[in-house]
Assembly symmetry: C2
Homo-oligomer: 344 residues x 2
């Protein structure tokens, strides 16, 4: 893995917001501190979910949710916590078998609000057809947490034939995107900052496992799947380019950016490529099945707007390039990640 | 389940510290709000870990850790997070297959401190012979969390023949305790409050799965296991008495309370029965194997001080009674739980 800054952390270094934003700083923290501490080699692909050792086709994923505000157009921390983990499992080709749900609540949080987001989590789990089988509830004093944090861990079973991995993308692959980008991050930011886009933009938070299952007929030709949450599409494409050692080329003209998202990004000075999503994924598939896979995605409501956005190449290994509307090329960097704290 | 206060929560009710303390308020919150929201029947036994649906002998447990301070005599939040989840799996008779670890860090936390507790988690996982297979890192702004919270979720496989459940205790069972009580809670409280007991008391935090495995030869005669963490021995015994519908009778003379713990509890006005532990468990076993089970526990260093503390009876179903040193009887209530926040 390429780290721009190879010096070890000094004794004075502290946790920064960007360490949690899913971009370059997060990757650095994982490589230089977290993974070595936990005895993991930092050079393997970092997937959305891990295979359970000795567990056959079982995969496991965990995520904590610290989104602020707790409720936003299109969802809340409860539905987000269910969808986020269901989707991380789906990105390994797995359908969810069970979820756990752990609550950290701040003293003084209205129980009505806790009930509302847990009801929402319960409904989301029911709609995703996955039981919440165990949980945990902790309370900290006033000021020791910001209202409510959730953690969900999911266990899933891989759909027979599907074995996507970020390391399996290869030159020639078509890059598909299952839906429009930028909705979740702009919906949360707009609500938090009171920007007034809340009527036009709603989070795309939704479960994606059924859409992934629609790719099952293509089996091994489905090489890599990733949902562009923190760090947005730019982070997901860079992670796959890095893990697989391929170049990724995408066309700006093909990117589905809703006009309200574009307007919000203009106002906020954000690139839609780095804004978090919670209801779409990229699929790297063999070129000969790309059209059929696209049709399979479009046959589902949550994939109705699926498009092909690019392809993989040997030309610029481990790098992502964008062909702009004017025909120029620019490198799409891994976002450093400070811009969008607490988006999920 | 008996709830003293059957009225629904009002719109003005808020989260209290006691809701997270593992006692009566926690049980109430689960029954009246959390479990209904998640579509779970509130009348079944609440175990330390759940069986994975369709997962054969796999069990799953999740816990968030918010202990303050992060480091205390005998351990830190990292080792505690590993031991806590390994032990919850063990209480269902399972050995750990894999852990997940999710971090919520406050902006400004020294990276050296993060590294220290993650190193500790890594070492604890290695010593428990369980890999950390996936994780998550979130950062919140200054003041939005108190330094560091962790979540661990564990997946384990039941030891063949062991199927303990809090509902399986029955009249006549012997109640065994694997080690002394009160060490963890008093160590954390003493450190937090600067009481000066830190030289005499260290947390008992340790993995208990090998000690549980020592009970495997007794198979089905091992009815119930529980580690008395939040809410202490009083909560664990009450939970089993309630879930199994049996009376539990314990002898004060048999309770192993280290003298330093007794002194700290005197000073703090605490009953050692409600102080959290992280390195012992109670086992409800058939009377005919009790002596042999005790010998099996004592053969391991972590069970060297195992003792029989009481038995189950039909006399006072769902109630726990203590025979005092003076021969009197007193009811051991489920602690309400406000007294010891952020102990784990």
């Amino acid at each position: 893995m390429n780290i721009d800054c190879p010096v070890p952390y000094s004794e004075d270094d502290v946790v920064q917001l960007g360490h949690g934003a899913g971009g370059r700083l997060t990757a650095e923290l994982l490589d230089r501190l977290v993974l070595p501490a936990l005895g993991r080699r930092p050079d393997g692909p970092l997937e959305d979910a891990a295979l359970l050792p000795g567990g056959g086709e079982l995969v496991v994923s965990t995520d904590s949710f610290v989104v602020s505000p707790l409720t936003f157009p299109g969802g809340d921390i409860g539905s987000l916590a269910v969808h986020g983990t269901v989707n991380d499992l789906a990105m390994r080709g797995a359908l969810p078998l069970a979820l756990t749900l752990a609550v950290i609540a701040e003293e003084g949080l209205p129980l009505a609000e806790l009930r509302s987001v847990l009801d929402s989590a319960g409904k989301a789990a029911q709609q995703a057809d996955v039981p919440v089988i165990t949980g945990d509830t902790k309370v900290v004093g006033r000021g020791a947490a910001d209202r409510l944090f959730l953690n969900t861990t999911g266990i899933g079973r891989r759909v027979p034939g599907l074995a996507p991995s970020s390391a399996r993308a290869r030159a020639g692959d078509a890059v598909l995107l299952s839906g429009p980008i930028g909705l979740h991050g702009t919906a949360v930011l707009s609500t938090r900052e009171g920007l007034g886009f809340e009527t036009d933009i709603a989070s795309d938070t939704r479960p994606l496992h059924r859409l992934v299952r629609a790719l099952a007929p293509f089996g091994d030709a489905v090489h890599s799947l990733r949902d562009p949450t923190r760090g947005g599409l730019a982070a997901s494409l860079n992670e796959i380019a890095r893990d697989a050692g391929v170049g990724v080329e995408i066309a700006e003209s093909a990117l589905p950016v809703p006009s309200a998202v574009a307007a919000a990004c203009d106002l906020l000075g954000l690139d839609p490529l780095i804004v978090a999503n919670e209801g779409c994924f990229v699929a790297f598939v063999a070129p000969d099945i790309a059209d059929a896979a696209l049709l399979a995605l479009r046959a589902h409501p949550e994939g109705a707007q699926a498009v092909r956005i690019g392809h993989c190449t040997t030309a610029h290994a481990a790098r992502v390039e964008l062909r702009t509307l004017l025909g120029a090329r620019r490198v799409v960097d891994m976002p450093s990640g400070e811009q969008l704290p607490r988006i999920c």
